[in-house]
């Protein structure tokens, strides 16, 4: 496998983890987050600093995951106070806060970022396999959650919090859980990214990237694990395959996003369902 293919597969794996974890927050539980990149970044910085200080690879990944989860739960408290569109705005703010903060901190490398992060010791192929393994585990976890009573309760909270409360479901606790799990995985992805590139800067984790992740979720089909996986892979490959898409990435993804919301609100998953069950009655 060429170095290019290894790196491409690694990026696909990372994006799958990120999109599927965002789908747990925004798809399963209905909490729109446009700041997923910030938790990804928090994990990457946590892993980089831990690795530089301790040279302990596993500990670095654990720290990345924990920092992601912790930051997510803090932001999740905002979701208890504000609803839907206000939450989206709040999370955008969190993302800008993150990149703005990191750029100004000398101990985080400021504008220059952190370079020379010690290697994981697995080599490029090893890193790729590890990333793909975690991506597979994330997909499995997502399917399991959706299948468990947690997924059932998430659907209720996402549709009508007050009605959920009359069934004894504490909507707040579930929203925090969704944020905690989703951002823990984003933090983990950040840790894996830090070892994949061994060099990180704040720009990687900006708001635009968060919007790209949301585009993967919406185009894949909000709430559908498989749809989101397909969209994450497709939207990662598209700019590689088509030069034009790479040059006008934002334009193309933004256009796709608008088209999907307008024409197939269920995304790829909704489209697939419609095509496989043409005679289905509502």
């Amino acid at each position: 496998m060429s170095a290019y293919e290894v790196s491409l597969l690694s990026v696909i794996g990372l994006n799958v983890i990120l999109a599927v974890s965002l789908n747990m927050i925004s798809g399963f539980c209905g909490q729109i987050s446009l700041g997923h990149g910030a938790f990804y970044g928090a994990g990457a910085y946590a892993a980089a600093l831990t690795m530089i200080a301790t040279r302990n690879f596993s500990l670095s990944l654990v720290c990345a995951t924990a920092v992601g989860a912790l930051a997510g739960i803090v932001v999740g408290f905002a979701s208890l106070r504000v609803r839907s569109d206000f939450l989206a705005v709040t999370t955008i703010g969190v993302n800008f806060l993150f990149t703005g903060f990191v750029r100004k901190q000398a101990w985080l490398g400021g504008e220059m970022g952190i370079s020379g992060i010690p290697a994981s010791g697995f080599g490029g192929n090893g890193n790729m396999f590890m990333i793909l393994l975690f991506a597979g585990a994330t997909i499995a976890l997502s399917l399991y959650i959706n299948w468990s009573w947690m997924g059932f309760a998430f659907r209720a909270v996402s549709e009508d919090e007050d009605a959920a409360a009359t069934l004894g479901i504490n909507a707040g606790a579930y929203k925090l859980a969704a944020f905690g799990i989703g951002t823990a995985l984003a933090g983990l992805a950040g840790g894996l990214y830090a070892f994949f590139t061994q060099f990180i800067t704040a720009d990687t984790f900006d708001f635009i990237f968060s919007v790209l992740l949301m585009a993967m979720v919406v185009i894949g089909g909000i709430g559908s694990t498989f749809g989101v996986v397909v969209a994450a892979i497709a939207l990662t490959l598209l700019p590689e395959a088509i030069r034009f898409v790479n040059d006008y990435r934002l334009l193309v993804f933004g256009g796709l996003l608008v088209l999907v919301i307008r024409l197939v609100p269920g995304g790829l998953a909704g489209l697939a369902r419609r095509l496989t069950a043409p005679a289905a009655k509502p």
Partner: protein
């Protein structure tokens, strides 16, 4: 024996208007109580205080002996209070069966940790199917609940309330919007639920049905209890008659 529900001196005002103004009453286990009052009497606010969506300025809500005044709606439900909404609120994207199953699984969904470790659905599915038969919704299990006609949605509300194994059910206008046949069918189900030992509080505009079914009537006016007792005695009370007949004029005069 502790009361199923005890309200002690509840009061709340919004912008200087006393919506509920010192309401005290107690409901024993197994009672079938009608809560009535003219428009603007404070019924809805009182229900919202009992359900936990409005915080009272003073007073206590005691559910089966435990003070729940500071508790969330979800925690009150887990302590034995069930509610049906005046405006039906099924989970429209879920099937009828799933709606009731989710209610029946209230123990599994008590907290996220327990929920994520729970996977089986068989007992809840059986319980839900049984309840659907009881409220007359057999055969609709696999329909999306958003596609049901209003009469069936109202019954679905009753089914969900039953599924949380409550000590007491608060029905908020379960007959509103139903035609006579549907209303009769609905009140029959509610009376049947009460006959099997459930404490029932019925908030209803349909006086005729309330008079026929309830064994005790509590009348609210201007946020206060103005009548409490056997239905015919209460309705014979001059103060109550005055409130019903004169409510329109009286409320205009006060503003």
């Amino acid at each position: 024996m502790t009361a199923a529900l005890k309200l002690e001196d509840l009061a709340v005002s919004f912008g200087g208007v006393h919506a509920v103004d010192g309401v005290t009453f107690s409901i024993a286990r197994g009672e079938f109580v009608g809560l009535i009052g003219p428009n603007g009497a404070g019924k809805t606010t009182l229900i919202r205080i009992v359900s936990g969506s409005v915080k009272p300025d003073r007073g206590r809500v005691v559910l089966a002996g435990s003070d729940v005044t500071g508790n969330s709606t979800a925690s009150r439900v887990r302590k034995g209070l069930a509610l049906t909404h005046q405006m039906v609120r099924p989970f429209r994207e879920m099937t009828v069966l799933d709606n009731v199953m989710l209610a029946a699984g209230y123990r599994r969904t008590a907290n996220p940790l327990r929920a994520v470790l729970s996977v089986g659905r068989k007992p809840e599915r059986e319980r839900a199917a049984e309840i659907l038969v009881r409220v007359g919704l057999a055969g609709t299990e696999d329909k999306l609940s958003g596609s049901l006609p209003l009469g069936q949605m109202k019954r679905l509300e009753v089914a969900r309330a039953l599924a949380v194994d409550p000590q007491i059910i608060l029905f908020d206008e379960p007959l509103a919007g139903l035609n006579q046949t549907e209303a009769a069918r609905q009140i029959e189900t509610i009376a049947d639920v009460n006959a099997q030992g459930m404490t029932v509080v019925l908030v209803e505009h349909n006086l005729e049905e309330v008079m026929r079914s309830c064994r005790r009537l509590i009348v609210l006016n201007d946020g206060r209890v103005i009548g409490d007792g056997a239905p015919h005695e209460v309705m014979a009370n001059a103060v109550v008659r005055e409130a019903y007949v004169g409510s329109g004029i009286a409320s205009h005069a006060r503003h």
